[in-house]
């Protein structure tokens, strides 16, 4: 346990700071922007796609089960990223034309 904490100490600092950054950056959001903000955040967690790509890169060429699962993972991750950003842009486009 002690080792676990010491080994990952930097990571823990990183996580805690990131939590506060997350809270601070959206701290004063007006309620009009709740939906677009949720949608934008939704697109950002699509960053999970990087994990799917890393999985694919490290997968054995003859491991067909995991290659197919990885393929699906990259596909779903891309849907999350692209769909998320495009939908958010469409919502925000509405606000622009006054």
């Amino acid at each position: 346990m002690e080792n676990f904490i010491l080994d990952n100490l930097e990571l823990f600092y990183f996580v805690i700071l990131a939590i506060f950054v997350g809270i601070e950056v959206i701290g004063k959001v007006p309620s009009v922007l709740h939906t677009p903000l949720m949608s934008g955040a939704n697109a950002i967690h699509g960053v999970v796609i990087l994990g799917a790509i890393i999985v694919m890169l490290n997968c054995n060429d003859n491991d067909y089960l995991n290659l197919s699962l990885g393929f699906i993972a990259v596909l779903l991750g891309t849907l999350n990223v692209v769909g998320g950003f495009v939908v958010t842009d469409r919502m925000l486009e509405m606000f622009k034309k006054k």
Partner: protein
């Protein structure tokens, strides 16, 4: 570790933080979204192309075809979706992210059996990702109307909690005993079931809160991937969304005067039974008004305030209401919209809908701004809203919505309420406003009723 890739990740992290910051301000929001998208794009291509691995062309073909198919599908569905269906679309995309995280864990587990820290993040990612996926899919089907009922098991809270505890114990058991990967598939399936049980009993009107919560779950799932690969960008993105999403969930709850636990564990939002107003007093008579009488009333007013609600969003009446507004203005009537923070199907959704139909941004008034104005308003036209204008929230301590901030429309000279029927709002409580002597009811579907009003006004 490749320096160029790390610099790319660093840059992308900055775009995420700055992008979120810009997203929370109306003037910069659109640029913020595009900025984060730019960072994401560079990071994706960097990850695919910059590494020291020997990659077969088969794998490149697979990766790029997944990227291309995903982009095409995501782009088309995001472009085609109607503005009123935005909430379920967000839920669907969120589910995809959750499924992606769960799949990564399924594939990676057997590479790391026995490596404690890695297995913990893998199993955590698996559980959170699966719950987020199946929960989001249920939310999606509820919002688009495929699932209409709120299925509620007896003792559902107890069952759900035991289920969750069971999942956690099973995960620890897998980790301690270094069980083979087939067990992670079992964990995957039971986590999916939990996600279904978690969201199924929650009422449709509470879905935005649930989606926001699941959104932050997916963020956490992405962060567990960051732990596993020591990938700082996944960590930054995941944790940012995790914490910002959690805060947003609480802000939404507050705007509805609901606590998160009452959304999840259910009080009035999930029950279909009608809760009595509590006061038990006689509500009196209600009077109906015809479209032509309502049109006359508005035609001779100085100031009209429109209160759009959930019913307007469902009936897609946002374009016709704008036409009504223009028509009244051409007759010299001052028209404003009063927007309750939770009007529509999600907080802020009403603003998006009205913006879509070209309503001037300056005509939308927020609650605090418009409430003192109602005294000087001749006619308030309420279209498909109920609980957000229920005076019981201000004056009946026994009411379940007591304390919720509302639009104080009862101060206006006349109130016209358009509703489909006399059914209670989603809170299932009577609204004494409808029995107020100043109130007249205009029954019918929002789109049809407003279209009739427009037709009548045109003849005057």
């Amino acid at each position: 570790m490749n320096t160029l890739l790390q610099i790319i990740y660093l840059f992308a992290s900055i775009t995420f933080i700055v992008g979120l910051k810009m997203l929370s301000h109306p003037l910069t929001a659109r640029k913020g979204n595009l900025f984060a998208a730019l960072g994401m794009t560079i990071a994706i291509f960097g990850t695919v192309l910059i590494h020291d691995l020997e990659i077969s062309s088969l794998k490149y073909v697979l990766i790029f075809s997944a990227l291309i198919i995903g982009t095409a599908l995501g782009w088309i569905s995001a472009k085609k979706v109607k503005m009123t269906q935005m909430p379920e679309m967000v839920s669907l995309f969120n589910g995809m992210g959750g499924a992606c995280a769960a799949l990564i864990s399924l594939i990676e587990y057997h590479h790391y059996i026995g490596v404690n820290t890695a297995v913990i993040s893998i199993l955590a990612g698996l559980i959170i990702g699966s719950i987020s996926f199946s929960g989001s899919m249920i939310a999606f089907f509820k919002l688009n109307g495929t699932i209409k009922k709120n299925y509620s098991l007896p003792l559902k809270n107890t069952v759900n909690n035991l289920f969750l505890i069971g999942i956690l114990i099973f995960a620890v058991y897998i980790q301690i005993n270094n069980l083979p990967e087939i067990y992670t598939y079992i964990l995957f399936v039971i986590s999916l079931i939990y996600g279904v049980l978690f969201v199924l009993p929650i009422g449709g009107a509470d879905m935005p809160v649930v989606i926001s919560l699941l959104n932050s779950f997916t963020g956490l799932a992405a962060a567990t991937g960051g732990f596993l690969y020591d990938n700082k960008l996944m960590l930054t993105g995941g944790i940012l969304v995790g914490s910002a999403g959690t805060l947003l969930t609480f802000v939404m709850c507050k705007a509805m005067n609901r606590s998160l636990s009452s959304v999840i564990f259910g009080s009035f939002g999930s029950s279909s039974s009608t809760v009595s107003g509590g006061s038990g007093k006689e509500l009196g008579n209600m009077k109906e008004i015809s479209a032509s009488d309502a049109a006359v009333l508005m035609n001779y007013s100085k100031k009209v305030v429109i209160v759009p609600g959930y019913g307007l969003a469902v009936a897609q009446a946002q374009h016709i209401i704008h036409e009504l507004e223009l028509l009244l203005e051409s007759k010299g009537v001052e028209v404003k919209y009063a927007i309750h923070p939770v009007a529509g199907r999600m907080p802020g959704h009403m603003n998006v809908l009205l913006a879509e139909s070209n309503v001037d941004y300056g005509k939308l008034s927020e609650m605090e701004e418009i409430n003192p104005d109602f005294v000087n308003t001749d006619v308030v036209l309420i279209v498909g809203a109920n609980d957000v204008v229920n005076p019981a929230a201000n004056n009946d301590p026994s009411s379940p919505i007591y304390g919720m901030p509302i639009l104080e429309v009862e101060k206006a000279k006349h109130i016209i309420v358009n509703k489909r029927s006399m059914n209670a709002g989603y809170a299932g409580i009577e609204n004494e406003l409808f029995y107020d002597p100043k109130t007249s009811m205009l029954f019918g579907d929002a789109k049809k009723a407003v279209t009739e009003l427009v037709a009548e006004l045109k003849q005057m």
